[in-house]
């Protein structure tokens, strides 16, 4: 009797478990089906449907989205957008947690997508989905944004203090390792800033270029320590001069109040020159001065307000003709559009910058080594303080 009961219980539990799994999968598919992310809907159709939905919740790493929100709410009376302004690592964690707990707390995410984290933890796991209607997709520049979700290009780049120097005082990246720049270089902590992580990661993929640049700088061969590569040698040396910060804003402030000679931060901060901040962009440097970073806008899986989300994303892209107000806050100095029919905010084309690009898959592969290397550097810098 006992054995039969045990077997029966096991069968029942298995059945229950399977039903649960299937139900979950079915719910997922139902969401995708209902979301109809491939459907071609006009803004008016979406607006009518959106009016029956709730407040749109957007997790964003960009404070400029507040201006898009304002004009969106004015353009579409009755719709409300709530912004949660967070840093990229926190954004990814929040989306993951929402999914684990079944919270439908997020509809749209706007995040830097170059560190590999966004791809690995959200895109590849289906926690976020791109939405790119055909009338907008038709205008995308060739080769931009592999997953079709990047809506903006920026660079993580080196700046000099233009209040102190008339022009960039260095020609070779290795000059930053010199003693005279001790404590005079500011840079966000790469473990907390995706764009900085992407720059560091991309530089790790440029060992040959860095070795050649070192030869041009010193006339000698770079000699890394055992187990270390040339890129790690560069960063270990330059880290002795770096003050790590929490954000690009602190870098901008340090350049402007005279505390820094150089700083690494996102190029969109160039817009702050309007307010009197003294950032001089380093367009040319041996072997590179900047790394391309892009920002994705995507719909969160299980979004409860899909129509409002679609309408908001269309609006952010500047609508079908690219002339909508939604993209205006992002048409500023240091920003490049992903659309061929929308003029860049940046005054210098990307082709005129000594740029490197990050290979995200390679970065994901080397994540453990990268994180270990940078954890050591940051801990060491904390001890120095």
């Amino acid at each position: 009797m006992g054995r039969i009961f045990k077997k029966l219980t096991a069968v029942l539990l298995t059945l229950l478990l399977c039903t649960g799994c299937t139900k979950e999968a079915a719910n997922m598919d139902r969401w995708l089906e209902t979301a109809a992310l491939d459907a071609q809907e006009s803004p008016q159709e979406l607006y009518e449907k959106a009016l029956k939905e709730d407040v749109l919740i957007v997790y964003t790493v960009s404070t400029r989205l507040a201006q898009t929100k304002e004009s969106f709410e004015a353009a579409y009376p009755g719709l409300t957008v709530e912004l949660r302004d967070v840093r990229s690592p926190s954004l990814i964690e929040a989306v993951e947690q929402n999914h684990e707990k079944g919270n439908r707390d997020c509809d749209v995410v706007l995040c830097n997508d170059n560190s590999g984290e966004f791809k690995q933890r959200l895109t590849d796991k289906g926690l976020v989905y791109p939405y790119l209607p055909e009338d907008i997709a038709a205008h995308r520049k060739e080769g931009v944004g592999g997953d079709g979700a990047s809506f903006l290009l920026e660079t993580e780049m080196l700046f000099y203090n233009s209040g102190k120097f008339d022009s960039c005082p260095i020609r070779n990246l290795w000059e930053l390792t010199e003693e005279k720049y001790r404590g005079r270089i500011y840079m966000p902590n790469p473990l907390n800033s995706f764009s900085t992580y992407a720059f560091c990661g991309a530089s790790m993929q440029k060992e040959t270029e860095l070795a050649e640049a070192y030869r041009r700088y010193s006339g000698k061969e770079a000699v890394p320590a055992e187990g270390e590569n040339v890129a790690e040698l560069f960063w270990r040396k330059v880290a002795a001069n770096i003050v790590f910060t929490n954000s690009s804003d602190e870098v901008v402030e340090a350049l402007s109040n005279g505390e820094a000679d150089f700083g690494l931060c996102v190029s969109s901060k160039l817009r702050l020159c309007e307010l009197g901040y003294t950032l001089g962009p380093v367009w040319e440097l041996d072997p590179f001065s900047a790394c391309v970073t892009s920002y994705s806008v995507m719909i969160a899986r299980d979004s409860a307000n899909v129509n409002t989300a679609k309408l908001f994303i269309r609006y952010l892209y500047g609508e079908a003709d690219g002339k909508g107000e939604g993209f205006l806050p992002f048409r500023s100095e240091g920003c490049w559009s992903v659309r061929e029919d929308v003029e860049d905010g940046a005054s210098v084309p990307l082709s005129d910058i000594d740029l490197i690009y990050v290979d995200q898959d390679a970065l994901i592969q080397s994540k453990e080594r990268m994180n270990g290397f940078w954890s050591g550097i940051i801990r060491e810098s904390g001890r120095r303080e």
Binding site: D85, V243, F244, L275, G276, R383
Partner: protein, 463 residues
């Protein structure tokens, strides 16, 4: 036999019942001020943690009086059964004020009759100027670095309709006279002479005996501020305006305010308003006509956190509670919330807001927000300095500790070396405050030698 069995069963039930009864915890009657930053005291995480840690049952009585003096008078003249009184929020008391209740307050240790609250804020820059960056951009202006540049910016704010509603409703520079930190006058005077209203406007260190408010430079500063007031650039004359009203103006969706000063943005900008917070950037201390540029140093000394009433029959239990609250574990909850959920210890790979080694990583920044994890600074605590200085940013742009922190760091180089300060002279300060208000608003003429002499004579009565 059946009867015997029944008796046995009854005895067993009684015995079992007795075994199951745990001793009832001592009930401690705690009074604390009402706070709009705490959701529900009964389910508050910190209160529950304290109950578990001490084995006490805390019965909380909410204090609705704003004045601690009035409350203590009423408490000690009644037979209310209160063991512990917690202070904090706007319900504060000075050590000297407690002296008159010495007989009604239980002594702690040798002399102290209260438990300290140390750890709410760091010492350092106590007043920051925040300016509307949206208006600057719209009008093609840069962040001012001198008092003259500020005047030009404020004129543009007044005349350029930067909020774009077609109405001349912009307030270029808003403030109130009731709070030194929220008074732009106090900020601007620091561009002419070191102006420390918290120490009765005496100098610091070598000048600690010099009353700066008597100097010609101070007078020049007042004339400058009056000039702003006369041009309608400074809106600080309304002595009736409260901090709450200033908050309403700054947080208005109509975008009414061009600039304001405060010790912490969280004192003015409501939590959960990233759009409003994003409007404002800090401006560094301004240089005056003679190149003077100071930042106001504020020493955040420990304040009274709690007392045990003299007539409490549960003094030991009360001491257990307050000693526990002053411990490191409790203090970290009292400041940052639940460990593992709202904060955790840093593994050293983060960067502190204050540029030192990181010690605390905040996950949910709760301070000065409506929450139910701690008492938002009410009661005693003692957060070690290494934690206060080592707190890191949680990545949320509206984390006010971060916003304040990097503004304060930028002001640091304009602060005086912390050293010898003059004792505050309350009557002298009150006299000066009144005169300053009159000079700024034009009720008295700062340009008149006779009225300036009258002012100086008034001050001399009090020192």
């Amino acid at each position: 036999m059946r009867k015997a069995g029944l008796v046995l069963l009854v005895w067993m039930l009684i015995f079992a019942g007795g075994c199951g009864t745990t001793p009832r915890p001592s009930v401690l009657h705690v009074a604390m001020p009402v706070s709009d930053k705490i959701q529900d005291v009964d389910s508050n995480y910190y209160i529950n943690w304290l109950e578990e840690k001490t084995g006490l049952e805390l019965e909380i009585t909410m204090i609705r009086q704003r004045s601690s003096g009035e409350y203590l008078e009423a408490l000690f003249s009644s037979d209310a059964d209160i063991d512990v009184v917690l202070f904090g929020d706007s319900f504060t008391v000075q050590e000297e004020e407690l002296e008159k209740y010495a007989e009604q307050i239980c002594p702690v240790g040798d002399a102290l009759c209260y438990y300290n609250n140390a750890g709410s804020r760091l010492s350092g820059a106590g007043q920051i100027l925040w300016i509307n960056s949206g208006w600057l951009k719209k009008l093609g202006l840069t962040i001012p670095s001198t008092t003259e540049e500020l005047r030009e910016v404020l004129r543009a704010f007044r005349d350029g309709d930067p909020n774009g509603n077609g109405l001349a409703d912009e307030i270029p520079l808003a403030g109130i006279r009731g709070s030194y930190a929220s008074s732009p006058t106090e900020f601007l005077l620091n561009s002419f002479v070191y102006n420390d209203p918290y120490h009765s406007r005496y100098g610091v260190n070598g000048e600690a005996e010099t009353l700066m408010a008597e100097t010609e430079a101070f007078r020049e500063g007042l004339a400058f501020v009056h000039g702003l007031y006369a041009e309608g650039l400074l809106d600080e004359g309304c002595s009736a305006r409260s901090q709450r009203q200033l908050c309403e103006l700054v947080n208005s969706p109509v975008d009414l305010v061009g600039a304001f000063t405060t010790a912490s943005v969280s004192d003015v900008i409501y939590p959960g308003n990233p759009e409003i917070l994003a409007r404002y950037v800090y401006a560094p201390p301004l240089r005056g006509s003679e190149g003077v540029c100071n930042a106001l140093y504020t020493e955040n000394r420990p304040r009274v956190g709690a007392i045990i009433t003299g007539r409490s029959p549960r003094k030991e239990e009360a001491a257990l509670l307050l000693d526990t609250m002053c411990g490191e574990e409790a203090s970290l909850i009292a400041r940052y919330g639940e460990r593992g959920v709202d904060w955790d210890y840093s593994d050293g790979t983060d960067v502190s807001v204050y540029e030192g080694p990181s010690t605390i990583v905040t996950k949910n920044y709760l301070w000065n927000t409506l929450q139910n994890k701690h008492l938002n600074g009410i009661g005693p605590m003692d957060v070690p300095l290494r934690y206060r200085e080592g707190v890191t940013w949680n990545g949320v742009n509206s984390d006010t500790e971060y916003v304040d922190g990097h503004a304060r760091m930028a002001y640091e180089k304009y602060l005086p070396e912390p050293g010898r300060f003059h004792e505050e002279n309350a009557v002298l300060s009150a006299c000066m405050d009144e005169w300053i208000g009159d000079f700024v608003s034009g009720r008295k003429d700062v340009g008149s030698d006779a009225e300036w002499e009258e002012y100086l004579k008034s001050l001399q009565q009090f020192y």
